[in-house]
Amino acid sequence: MNGCTSPDKSTLPRLRWYVFDEPSGTFAEAAKHCSSASGGAYQIKLVPLPADADQQREQLVRRLAASDSDIDIIGMDVIWTAEFAQAGWILPWTADKAATARQGRLQPSILSATYQGRLWAAPFTANAQLLWYRKDRIEHPPRTWNEMIRMAEAFGEEGAVLAQGERYEGLTVFFTSLLASAGGSVLDETGRHVALAQRPTRQALAIMQRLADSPASDPALSTAREDQARLRFETGKAVFMINYPFVWPSANQNAPEVAVHMGWARWPGVTEDRPSRVAIGGINLGIGAYSRHPELAFRAATCLAGQAHQRMAAIRAGLPPTIEALYDAPEVRAKLPFADLLRATLKDAVQRPPTPLYNDISLAISRTLHPMKAIVPDRDIKRLRAAVRRALRSEGLL
């Protein structure tokens, strides 16, 4: 009886989409929508991964290293591209498919899915940190870190600057953004050698040390992540916070009395004359190399990363789109009132080192620079260079 009405769902090729567990359910809806739009070609099944990016990666790489054919579409953090591509765990996008996946996307998002000149994933969501501050306590947002720390110190106990200081990826993001804002980079252009030029590295380290040592810093800085900063800001006991846009809907929901006074500005710069550059985040959609239905998976990923679903993810989950035009869409701007600032920040965002050894490098950086309070800039430039060099050779313990 089933056979004569509609195609039986159980016999359709089933594509599994491994992606982090997004609470608003827009991923599930996108999966449902693409499945029905395929006209019975495939059925996408969502497989939620843990919320923590490190745990997502650990689960995926263990399966991929064992050639798991169950993985069709992967929601890949932007920093995994080089590693997954180099190990042969994902499939490259051929020219015609890549053209669709690139269309209208922000350049840094495309770059985050590119390794050795090829596109390895469809840019799906972007992310970048902004400076959040209290409009009722200061007149205009600070332009540089030194200015901000001085302003915060004038407030004494109540003036905290909230940032991410725990020993984890967030600390590497913080350092990378500071370094790029000072005009430096971790690796050179080939991605095989350490750069970490003296002047910008010293400037970045000096700011980290100054912030951690300042009476205006959060006393729990060395165990603070994005979420701890958000919670603390929502109590109203801070003037400045470095964080991702998810804090905006959160504050509106949990602490409306703080949200009405919340202002946003570009991440502070290192020097007056150079605008800041922050590390780009977000997820791209890659195709598992051992997938049983790679062609269908490419079609499905293209559909999932399309404009309709990026719009939905932005409106319902507050995930910044990678399609530039969406930043002008009225319903997106209503949800993300800082859309222009976010787009401008994303447009000259910096990539974290695009190397298959990124994870090792990040471990080396966060280990060397934690706790920030103990940084001695002149000594730690050497330690940092040595640690990154060791990580690049994938030798020794980190």
Binding site: E58, R167, P219, T223, L397
Partner: protein
């Protein structure tokens, strides 16, 4: 070898086979892997490197620091567990009423999953959500500094596994014949003399087993540290180093070398205990 002995060997064979399969094979495989440069991200670069991985681990300050931390946590927690465990064992042994309730109550922490216990203690000591600071009227970010983080980790371990120690020691207490203690009392030995000169020497095998088990267990500590500090603030243990190398960095060669060294550490502890206590942990009939 007579027929009966031969039959005995044949009957043992399945057990020997099973042991080889589940313990000897993984160990040998880990050792074999540790001689290779083998990174899952660069499978094509696999090559035999001999002892290079061991040299790399043993010359790394990360390893020695982690080893020192592990020894500190092990020694700190096992010593406190022994003292508290003895007190609890004596209590459980002596209790005349509600015996079963007392014993069950003491054993509850041991039944709780380590990760859950570690999280509970982490929350308790958290400066914003925890009750410890409110209780002690302090404003201490416990897990933000090395020594206070060690205190929280050791306290969690002690809370969690003292019941196990107490259980083993209580079994040892039942080994001490009551008439011996009675006789000593008649001879005028004080309570303390009776404990140190009769009870303790007779309990030596039980104490040795309890200490050995707990030391081996504590040396492999992972969950508590991982949940509470992720190894930051100088609380990293050797198991966390192995986890980082094997699971996060997918470096099978180097990670296996770390694992083999942890195994060597565990073996050294076991040998040290057996020699140090001079108590035959393996009962030999022919030596008596």
């Amino acid at each position: 070898m007579n027929r009966q002995q031969r039959l005995g060997w044949w009957l043992c064979l399945p057990a020997v086979g099973a042991m080889l399969l589940v313990t000897a094979y993984p160990l040998a495989y880990a050792f074999w892997l540790s001689l290779y440069r083998y990174d899952l991200r660069f499978p094509e670069q696999r090559a035999f490197v001999g002892g290079a991985n061991y040299a790399s681990v043993l010359t790394s300050e990360v390893w020695w620091q982690a080893l020192a931390n592990t020894v500190l946590i092990t020694a700190g927690s096992v010593m406190m567990e022994l003292m508290l465990g003895f007190a609890l064992a004596l209590l459980m042994h002596r209790t005349l009423f509600a015996r079963r309730t007392v014993r069950t109550a003491i054993l509850v922490p041991y039944g709780i999953i380590t990760v859950v216990a570690a999280l509970a203690w982490k929350f308790a000591f958290d400066p914003t959500t925890g009750f410890i600071n409110a209780l002690l009227n302090l404003d201490q970010p416990w897990l933000n500094e090395r020594w206070s983080a060690f205190c929280v980790i050791i306290a969690t371990e002690v809370w969690k596994t003292t019941p196990f120690m107490a259980l083993l020691l209580m079994a040892g207490l039942t080994l001490v014949p009551q008439d011996l203690l009675q006789a000593a009392r008649v001879d005028g030995a004080s309570r303390i003399q009776r404990f140190f000169q009769i009870t303790l020497p007779l309990m030596k095998p039980a104490v040795a087993v309890a200490l050995l088990f707990r030391t081996l267990d504590a040396f492999r500590i992972f969950d508590t540290v991982f949940v509470q500090t992720r190894g930051a603030h100088g609380t990293e243990t050797v198991s966390i180093v192995a986890y980082h190398t094997l699971i996060a960095r997918l470096n099978l060669g180097l990670g296996s070398a770390v694992s083999v060294l942890i195994f060597a550490g565990v073996s050294l502890i076991a040998i040290g205990f057996i020699k140090g206590f001079k108590a035959p942990l393996i009962h030999r009939e022919d030596s008596q």
